[in-house]
Amino acid sequence: MTSPVSTPCPSRREFLAFGGALTGLAAVGASAGWAQNQPQVDASTVNGTDHTTDVLVIGGGMAGLFAAVKAHDAGARVLMVSKGRLGASGLTPFAKGFFVFDPTKETLSIDEFTEQVNRSALGTNNPVFTRQLAEHALDRARDLKDWGFFDQTLCHRAFLKPMADRKIPVMERVMITHLIKHDDQIAGAAGFRLDGEEIVVCRAKSVILCTGAGGFKPSGFPVCDLTHDGSIMAYKIGARITGKEWNDGHSTRAVNPAACYDNWGDMFDRVPGTNGVEVHHDLGVDANYVAYQTGNPLPGGPPGVLADGRIGGGPTTPAEFERRAPEDGDAGPPPLGGGRGGPPGAGKGGAPGPMDAPQMGGASAGMSIHKSEGLVPIDDRGASTVPGLYAAGDALGSHMSGGIYTQIGSSLAGSAVQGAIAGAAAADLAMSTKLTVIPDTQLTSIREEILAPLRREAGYGPAWVTQVLQGIMIPNFVLYIKKDSMLRAALAYVEELRDHHLPMLRAADMHELRLAVETSNMVLSAEMKLRASLMRTESRCSHYRLDYPETDDANWRAWINIYQGADGSMQLAKQPFDAWPESA
């Protein structure tokens, strides 16, 4: 076991500025930077297990649950693998709002709803997925109701019910690190067990990534276990990735900024519920702009209060969706995962205190808008550009909401809807294809790649590399208030980490091995975010360029897709809004 970072922490204030962060890194570096590796695990004695199934579901959140259940119900053999626990990892445990479009209660039609979202999203949403959400959310809510999801705070038991009823096997605490492709077809996945010294290989006819999105292990948002694992694995076997330039703009409280639970008021304690149509244009990045222009401290408050014209310029909200000042008795901002709900801590009915507490930015740093970043879909069933590979929920770049939070509660509901659809699609494919045989040589090299950090005699601690990355990426003048010079400067740092540090990440045990993989995924995700942000020379929704503050409809009614070129380099290409990829 490596010793956790235990250097005496200088005061929090010292770390709030970029320079402070670097000071901290220097202090931390002594114990967690480059050092001899003292492995607790002997890589040469690590065992292996081999599993075979029709449909492999990776991830045990809302999307994974429905993917597994609906793939099973469509007749396929299903295996679920999760880095954490079913219903207790990723963002699912913290999302309490579930959007439903109930035609008997809504005053507008699904067509009108889709158009309204499209106006708020300034065209960035894919209306096929927006409509799909509205059409299916009510049915998924009914499924969840049957399983007891709306009866309790925690969702593991409720999720376990349909899985156990169907006897779908679940492997928890197994981190998948590699997707396996052979003969241009998905063949399975491989990873390792956190609790045992064991390499796990899963052979499958189709694979559904329900791995969520991710961040840079930021402070104040419960996303530290998500590091874009699915997207990066998929990118490495040829999938296209989209939506990296958008920014989730959640802030946290200035006091104890890392305390997610405390800063979200009573939200983590709540029992999930449903809500109807309520379309917004919740920026989040606007607070970063105010802080950038006026400095600290930044007052707390509901969404929109910062954009009252106190300072000029900055990210803009379409007039139709500007928020009025909240009145007493307002229900409070929407729940996490349902859209940007304003400052954390603003609980239902107004939680005491935190609503007006001073705010700090970057709580969800490294995460785009829900459903906007991830694998580029080639159809409405979540298929990716790799045959047999599907994605759903936050791992799928469906742009269901667009590059901005529009419909409240849509994130959780969208994961359920997309998971169910991808599950059925992956099962259909699995029924009509044969299992691809993976050559032993390919498995051997994957095994060696997984174990490499345990074998290094010396190298860089993943915790240290992660902190360096946070220092580079999280400051608001890099990630949120973007301009060419800073994006290029940050990219130079990130390329250095990619080329020099990632090949030398060390791990002493299975926990640190997980951190090493996560760090590696975060660095590549950072590179994607920087390159996409550099390429989009306009401002739109949650992407704000100080040097290109206007929306450029002539050139930028397009999403950015990222893929690996033949030489291994990162390539970027435009895909026009409302169009499917050309390769489809």
Binding site: R85, A258, M360, G362
Partner: protein
């Protein structure tokens, strides 16, 4: 500290499984939960909420420097 203390642990392992960030492990010698990797705690309280005997106490402080977007 993040997770501050574990008192009255019965060794059921619920917290180990429900921690998204793999902070807690069972001590092989005592069979009880220990805070193995405090630096990785995201202060989400899932371990506390899943604990059947309410053994876990959590503080809002992080053990490592916190990097935010502005200061």
């Amino acid at each position: 500290m993040t997770i501050k203390s574990i008192n009255g642990c019965i060794g059921c392992g619920e917290c180990v499984k429900s921690c998204p960030c793999d902070v807690i492990r069972l001590d092989p010698s005592t069979g009880k939960a220990v805070i193995a990797y405090p630096a990785d705690c995201q202060i989400c309280h899932l371990c506390r909420m899943y604990c059947p005997v309410d053994a876990i106490e959590i503080s809002p402080d992080k053990t490592i420097p916190v990097i935010v977007a502005w200061g």
